[in-house]
Amino acid sequence: MTAKRTSRRDFLKTAVAGASAAVLPLPAIAQGAGGRVVVVGGGFGGATCARFIRRIDPRIAVTLVEASPTFTACPFSNLVIVGLRDLKAQEFGYDKLATDQVTVQISPATAIDAQGRSVTLGNGTRFPYDRLVLSPGIDIRWDGLPGYTEAAAERMPHAWKAGEQTLLLRRQLEAMEDGGTVVISAPANPFRCPPGPYERASLIAYYLKTKKPKSKLIVLDAKDAFSKQGLFQSAWKALYPNLEWVSLSTGGKVTSVDVGAMTLVTDFARYKADVANVIPPQKAARIAEIAGAADRTGWCPIDPATFESKLQPNIHVIGDASIAGAMPKSAFSANAQAKVCAAAVAKLVAGGKPDDPKLINTCYSLVAPDYGISVAGVYRPADGQIKDVEGSGGVSPLNAPTSTRAAEATFANGWFSTITQEVFG
């Protein structure tokens, strides 16, 4: 960690008091004071942002703070659950970030002093910053669904953070007798990966159809509408007669769980499960709240052009934790936001004015291993929010030949390889 140094702001204050403002930027550069940026969270958003800040302005010193030495990716983890992929294929390390001279600190961020502009780590070290980028992902709202505690998640896995939970759900499915009932509970909006519960339902239905055909799958939903709904439902009708989706208005909202009885409770019925996958309500990860960047919704309001927090100056929030308007909480979004945020942070640290960005998202879902569907969007800041560019975006066609579905499954695989190469390779 660098020695205590006058921050740009303090320097400016002192200098303005005694000298002409016109000469200010020069001494700062001569000192090599390109600025210090700390990025918290080493996922698709954070690792990308750290690397791109360095590439955009190599004078800026960038520290990436991450609790775990290994990142376990959520996209494609539904294939792990049904035994079609190894969890190892989801795991990535941070070694290659050294090629961009990003300093990686493996320790959780435990405190943020937004006024004094510093981050404190679990190992006790403190990192001052000129700008902070938070890309911390999500936390489960353990108070969001009665009966669903951290202990309950050991019996009814959420598997919404990839890793042990993913493997637990896989083992439970493998151990289930043919003829069993799997129940998935899907949360109300907003949550990480809007099409994720339905891809998972599809792939579990695929697993049951091929391995345990007497079994059935029930999806209890706290919503009446969901991402790529028409495509999913039409595929389910054709492929998975044993998959039943219960919408909010037909009594699908799970109001509590009884772990001892392996039962999910709605206002209208009790669903006994052999395997229960509870995808619970979520919020921005706790460090966002500690920073004072989360609002009463639990998520982080941001400026749509720079991703700077609307609550805390000099702190930017990207990825799932942010309220990014029309952009879904996806890995692709986090990666695209990270690059926009990196450019904005570099400009702001140097005293410049960031440009208005354009952003893209593309999310693939697998309905079966060789059956892919997608949603894509193009976005720009408008009226203080991130909005869709009119006339762009949308989902795969409802009627398409199997060759198109197969092509999208291939593109989905290519996407995972490409994006993980960019972020961690």
Partner: protein, 101 residues
């Protein structure tokens, strides 16, 4: 060496510096950096999606226009191309053309 030649040489050097600077991520026009979510920046990625680095800008512009109009069949590019104006596409294409393959 006369003054004109010195000026010409200097202009050439400046143009090269300018060209080099315009090829970096700091100079990426709006939207350009989002493409590499699918169009790999490195050859290490295992994908059938074509790379954009070092491509002829005119080819990128032509393809984007054809995606937009539906002349060129695609899975997602029709939906994405419709989100960009001709000028935005030209800027993105020029930037990718300036990237080393």
């Amino acid at each position: 060496m006369n003054a004109t030649r010195i000026v010409t040489a200097a202009a050439l050097v400046l143009a090269l510096i300018d060209y080099a600077a315009a090829a970096g991520p700091a100079d990426a026009p709006p939207g350009a950096l989002a493409c590499s979510g699918c169009h790999a920046a490195t050859k290490a990625a295992n994908t059938t999606v074509p790379r954009l680095d070092g491509r002829n800008p005119a080819d990128i512009v032509t393809a984007m226009q054809a995606f937009k109009s539906g002349q060129l069949p695609s899975t997602v590019m029709d939906r994405i191309a419709k989100g960009f104006s001709d000028d935005e596409v030209k800027a993105i294409a020029a930037w990718y053309g300036a990237q080393k393959d």
